[in-house]
């Protein structure tokens, strides 16, 4: 016959309240770290927040309801977490809590079998919560925890042992999420929801062990689990996972041995079973030592160098455009321009321009080296246009020349380039993009002269807009302001300046300041162009 002393019940309820509060507090403490892990299903970085707020809902409701019995407590937990649930991870967590509580609420006593059933129900309801469950998320972690709990209950373990084993399994399962979800591996993180679940359960186990669990956030550097430290520097050797079964195993001694041979070690267990996760260059030594103590199970060895380079290769491949229908070839001068064309427009660059014109032969070779039969060729200098057209005619490929006269205008054209569409479509999109865009060049005069009715003395700055000399001035700043004025700056919104290889920084700063103090309302963008001869070239859009 079950009789329950009301004092005993009150004590049990009080313990459970403290345990739930500890879970919430430990989660709060790890919140920021969990937020940073989030890459799935969308990298919104708030898994920690969502889980914390969901737990807060549970704790608040529990405190408000002042439950006197375990079933009242469970009801409060279910209601509070459901109402407080936020985000995917929060919703799934609340479902898991409900599942767990639903099995606990009617139990007369808490035995390992009841707990295992509760874990199983939590995992089941968690899976059912998502319309398209994905492996490698908190649902997988919950299921692994439930399976471990069942194994422990069937083996007749004590509650303490069972919970410790479930926690160990949760941590291992979190580590495994990486191998189940390529996105996690690529991002170099474990699943945030899974980690949140493990952290939450860690808080519970800590409280049951008698620790005081506070919600003060962990300092950044101590926030990392050893077992989760899969940072690039650490990826080496073999990721070794196994279970060692034996009699009277000395866990601390074994752990010490493993730690001496590897990094990121997680060694947990009891005298009859030890779980090992370790990164090592000497898996053989660890395994033979383990074999001398007992039998090995669920052995899994992965070469992490392979894993790492595969992940890196996958990352690189994802950056490459799948099919190049039309290639972009750019004649350009200056390291900065070259980088912009290559990075922002995925273009191939032939070096050349003012006083270093590439030959028709150079251009034909460059066209032939392009990875597509269609090629758009941007000239960026009036002096190379003819060679470009010659090369286009001579080449066996389909080539169209976009005869831009300055690098800055060429950049504007290149941003409209789309590798996945055809030649004509690209040509018209790029032509349209540069329509009305003005190119401005400023260079010191090498001698006294009068060009296009502008008189200039040696050393003064000559201002050229779209291949026409429009002004000259002694200072770079005044020359720039005169140039944009002549180009009709009132009609435009964006001035992009490219700084030359031998421009003086203070002169350029002065010129930028002069533009911002001028009467023109322009957004000014400054980049390193690295072009010779011209301290500043620019576009007005």
């Amino acid at each position: 016959m079950q009789t329950q002393n009301s004092d005993q019940v009150a004590v049990r309820v009080q313990i459970l309240i403290e345990v739930v509060a500890a879970a919430a507090a430990w989660l709060e403490r790890n919140r920021t770290r969990i937020n940073q892990l989030n890459v799935f299903p969308v990298p919104d970085g708030d898994t920690g927040d969502n889980m914390v707020l969901t737990m807060k809902g549970a704790v608040d409701q529990m405190k408000r309801a002042q439950p006197r019995t375990v079933s009242e407590l469970c009801d409060a937990l279910m209601e509070g977490s459901l109402n407080g649930s936020r985000g995917n991870s929060g919703v799934i967590l609340s479902q898991m809590i409900s599942g767990f509580a639903s099995k606990l609420r009617d139990a007369h006593s808490v035995a390992t079998d009841t707990l295992a059933t509760a874990f199983e129900e939590a995992a089941r309801v968690g899976y059912a919560a998502h319309s398209e469950p994905v492996e490698g998320t908190m649902m997988t972690v919950a299921r692994d925890m439930a399976e471990e709990a069942r194994r422990r209950a069937d083996a007749g373990d004590s509650i303490t042992k069972m919970l410790a084993a479930v926690l160990a399994e949760a941590r291992l399962s979190v580590v495994r999420t990486q191998s189940l979800l390529p996105r996690l591996q690529q991002a170099g993180v474990v699943d945030a929801g899974g980690e949140g679940l493990a952290v939450l359960f860690d808080g519970i186990v800590r409280r049951l062990r008698g620790e005081v669990v506070e919600d003060e956030p962990l300092a950044e550097q101590e926030a990392d689990f050893d077992a989760l430290d899969l940072s690039e520097e650490d990826v080496f050797g073999y990721c070794t996972n196994f279970i060692l079964r034996g009699e009277d195993l000395d866990v601390p001694a074994f752990k010490e041995r493993v730690l001496a041979l590897g990094k990121s070690a997680l060694v947990v267990g009891n005298p009859r079973l030890i779980k090992v996760h370790v990164h090592t260059e000497q898996p053989g030594e660890i395994l033979s030592h383990a074999l001398s103590l007992g039998t090995l199970h669920q052995l899994k060895l992965d070469n992490m160098d392979d894993q790492y380079s595969e992940a890196r290769q996958a990352r690189q491949e994802s950056r490459i455009v799948e099919t190049v229908e039309t290639a972009l070839l750019v004649i350009s001068q200056g390291r900065g321009f070259e980088q912009i064309f290559e990075r922002d427009a995925k273009a191939h660059v032939v070096s050349g321009g003012q006083s270093s014109n590439p030959s028709t032969g150079d251009l034909i070779a460059a066209i032939n080296a392009c990875p597509a039969e269609n090629v758009i060729l941007i000239t960026n200098n009036p002096n190379v246009i003819m060679a470009a057209e010659r090369a286009a005619a001579e080449s066996s490929k389909q080539v169209r020349v976009l005869p831009t006269k300055t690098g800055p205008v060429g950049v504007v054209a290149s941003l409209a380039y789309d590798p996945s569409v055809g030649l004509d479509e690209n040509y018209s999109a790029m032509s349209e993009a540069v329509e009305g865009v003005r190119g401005i060049e400023i260079a010191p005069a090498v001698r006294d002269a009068t060009v296009e009715e502008v008189s200039v003395r040696k050393g003064e700055y000559l201002v050229i807009v779209d291949d026409h000399v429009v002004a000259a001035d002694q200072s770079l700043a005044a020359a720039l302001v005169a140039g944009i004025g002549a180009a009709g700056a009132n009609e435009y919104e964006l001035l992009t300046l490219y700084v030359g290889a031998d421009a003086s920084t203070s002169d350029v700063d002065g010129a930028v300041e002069a533009v911002s103090e001028s009467r023109y309302e322009l957004t000014v963008e400054v980049h390193q162009g690295g072009q010779p001869h011209y301290p500043i070239v620019a576009s007005l859009e």
């Binding site: 299903p41 708030d46 649930s85 919560a129 980088q339 941003l415 435009y492 919104e493 964006l494 992009t496």
Partner: protein, 284 residues
Amino acid sequence: MSQVKVVTDSTSDIAPETVSELGIVVVPLNIHFGDETLLDGVEITNQEFYERLVASRQMPTTSQPNPEAFRAAFEKAVEEGAEGVVCVSVSSKLSGTYNSAMLGAREIAGVDVRVVDSRSASMALGWAAIAAAEAARDGADIDEVERVARDTAARSRLCFFADTLEYLQRNGRIGRAQSLVGSVLQVKPLLVLDDGEVVAYQRTRTRAKAIQALINWCVQLREPERMSVVWNANEDELKRLMDGLAPVFPRDQIVVSTYGPVIGVHIGPGSLGVLAVEGSRGSG
């Protein structure tokens, strides 16, 4: 009184008059300023939100309604006499709202609830909900209302430009437009929603060109039946866009609205967008 009720979420940006006229039930998403939670459109208006967005140093975040909110909305629809509910949600690729609606539907018995993933957002989703509610008002049964919702959602198109990719990127809603991130030069990216996901459509360098590109996008639409403009930019730019659209669609039929807070969090200020439902001819 119609037998079928239409439920949608607050990212649909449907004007309050239309909501009450058609008896649509709108389930609010949550907006979080730190630990403070506000129900989108209920506890905070568009204007209050944008004022706070500018004033607050902390970036707000958003979260889906929980299943209980949907369950309550479905129950309310039943209490108002509905025998069936069609719930149209924001794209499941952008938010967990669809999932919450599915869970909410599971919690309610005795009423037929159909949940439709619009694979869309803002008024593109709004148009699907409106078309469904109009069908329900005209006496259509639940199968027909659901069909109208799915069909309209499938024909809806959305194109917008953001002043910067920063907000979309920070909130992880950037989808296949990821390729635009990390460029040296500033771009005003023109983006479209393709099968529920944000995809790069065109790179423009200035707002003036972005507006022109938006107009060009509208020109290539196939027989648009409905159109709306959403914005949180300045009024001059709105006018320029509206003038440009005049040859494309009757101006007095274009519904103009501001982006609601949830979309605003993800898109940032200074955005203009066009949402349209294309004609059904030849799409079957």
